[in-house]
C-alpha cells in the first residue's frame, strides 16, 4: 500500500505503524458519571467495518506525524489522508 502523506507525498505503508480506528482520537471525559463504562468501550470495543474505515497511522520511519487514513478494508484502497492533528483540532481537541 502507498499512503499519500499530506506533507511528504506518496510513502510506502511499511514506513508506518498502525494504531487502529481513528475514533481513538475521541477520548472520553474522565470526569463523567459513566467514565468507567465509556473507557471500557473506548479501550476495548471496535466497529471493525468491512468497507471504509478511518484509521490512525504513525509515520514512525518518516516525519513521525500521526495521520488519519480513510481506507477500504475490503480492497485496501485509500481515499483520503489527513494529518491527525488537523482532524483532532476540527473536532475541538487540544485547542
Amino acid at each position: 500500500m502507498i499512503i499519500e502523506h499530506p506533507l511528504l507525498g506518496p510513502r510506502d505503508a511499511a514506513e508506518f505503524t498502525y494504531m487502529g480506528d481513528a475514533k481513538l482520537i475521541d477520548r472520553p471525559d474522565w470526569q463523567a458519571q459513566n467514565a468507567a463504562r465509556e473507557f471500557y468501550e473506548y479501550g476495548y470495543l471496535r466497529d471493525n467495518p468491512a468497507g471504509w474505515h478511518e484509521e490512525l497511522w504513525f509515520h514512525e520511519a518518516g516525519d513521525r506525524s500521526w495521520l488519519v487514513v480513510t481506507r477500504n478494508t475490503v480492497t485496501h484502497e485509500i481515499s483520503k489522508v489527513e494529518l491527525a492533528r488537523d482532524v483532532a483540532r476540527a473536532r475541538g481537541r487540544s485547542k
Binding site: 500500500m1 498502525y18 487502529g20 479501550g43 476495548y44 471493525n48 467495518p49 478494508t73 475490503v74
Partner: protein, 416 residues
Amino acid sequence: MRYSGFRVIKEALTGHKGWTPAWRDPEPQEQYDIVIIGGGGHGLATAYYLAKEFQQKRIAVIEKGWIGGGNVGRNTTIIRSNYLLDGNEPFYEFSLKLWEGLEQDLNYNAMVSQRGILNLIHSDAQRDAFTRRGNAMILNGADAEMLSTQQIKARYPFLNTDDARFPIKGGLAQHRGGTVRHDAVAWGYARGADSRGVDIIQNCEVTGFRIEKGKCLGVETTRGFIGARKVGCAVAGSSGRLMAKAGMRLPIESHVLQAFVSEGLKPVLPGVVTFGAGHFYVSQSDKGGLVFGGDLDGYNSYAQRGNLPTVEDVCEGGMAIFPAFGRARLLRMWGGIMDMSMDGSPIIDRTHIDGLYFNGGWCYGGFKATPASGFCFAHLLARDAPHPTAAAYRFDRFEKGLMIDEKGMGNQPNLH
C-alpha cells in the same frame, strides 16, 4: 457409510461405484432447535458434538459459501498446546487430546501427524520464559521438553544455529504437537454431523437476526427466515460484520495473516519449527511443500490478501535460520482473516441477547482449537453453562480486567 481398509479394497475391485456423497444437501426447514452460523471447522465441530455428546436434535449449520471455505481451509495446519496461562492451557490441552482421538471418533482420515513442534530460544531470558512455559504445560498434563542446541541440530541438520543476530541456544519442544490435514477436519466433522441428522445448508448467507424483546427468534437468510430456539455464531474472521447485524460491537478487529507454500521437496523438515524472534515458522506438508508464515500485516482487513513488505519480512526470517530453503521456489501465498481480540484470547460465551451465543476472537490460533472449541461451544449451547476448560473465555473479562494476555501486549490487537 463406514470407511475402512476393507471398503477401499472392495470399491477398488468393483470400479468405485459404491461411494456415496459424504453429506446431504438438504433444504432449510422453517424451525430448528439450534442453528449454527458458519460452516467452518468450529461450526461443524459444534454441530457434531451437539448431536453426538449432548444428544441435541434438530440442528442446522448455515454457511454463506461452501463448507470449509474459510479459515479452516486457509491456515498452516499446526496443532499444539504450548500455552502459559491458566485460562488457556487446560483448554488447548483438551483440544490436543481430542485431536489424538479424532480420526477414530470421526471414522475419517484427517492425517493427524504428531511430528512435534519446537520453539527456538536465543537468550537466557528467553530460556527462563520457555522453562516457565514448559512447566506450566506439564502442570496442566501436557508434554514439554527443553532441548539443547546439539539435540536440535541432530534433528534439524539444515538449521543455521550460528546466526549472528539470533544464535540458537536451545528450544522448547512439544512432541505431541504436529500437523493435521486441515480440509479433512471440516469434511470429517461435516460427515459426522450429517450422519447424526444435522442439516448442513450451504450457499445460505445470514442477512440479519430476528430479535424481539431481547430474545433471538432466528435468522434472516438469503434462503428465507429460519427459526431457532438458540443461535450460535462461529464465523471467525467475519465476527465483526455478523454481530453488527445484532447491534453488537465486539472486542475484536479483523486482520489479515499471510501464509505461504513452496514447491514440493523431498523430506527435509521432520517437525514444526517456530522462530518467534524472526517472525517465521515452518513445517513440511506430506506432499513435500514447505508451509510457512509469520506475523500479521498489522492493519484492519477483510481482503484475504496481504502486502509485500510482510512477505519480505517472513522470507528474511526463513532465510536466517534455514538458508538452504532460499533455493526453493514459492508456489502459492494467500491471506486469511483473523478475529484479533483485545487480549489475544478467544470468546465462547452468551451474548446479552437471549438465545444468541458467540464463538470467535480466535486470533491466528483457531485451527488447533477446532475440536475443543466445538466441544465447549456445544456444551454452552446445550447446557447454558460454560465447559470448565473454556470458563474464562467470557465477553465481560475486558470490562472486569480479567484479560488472558499470553504476550502481555494490552489492547492492541495487531500485536498479539
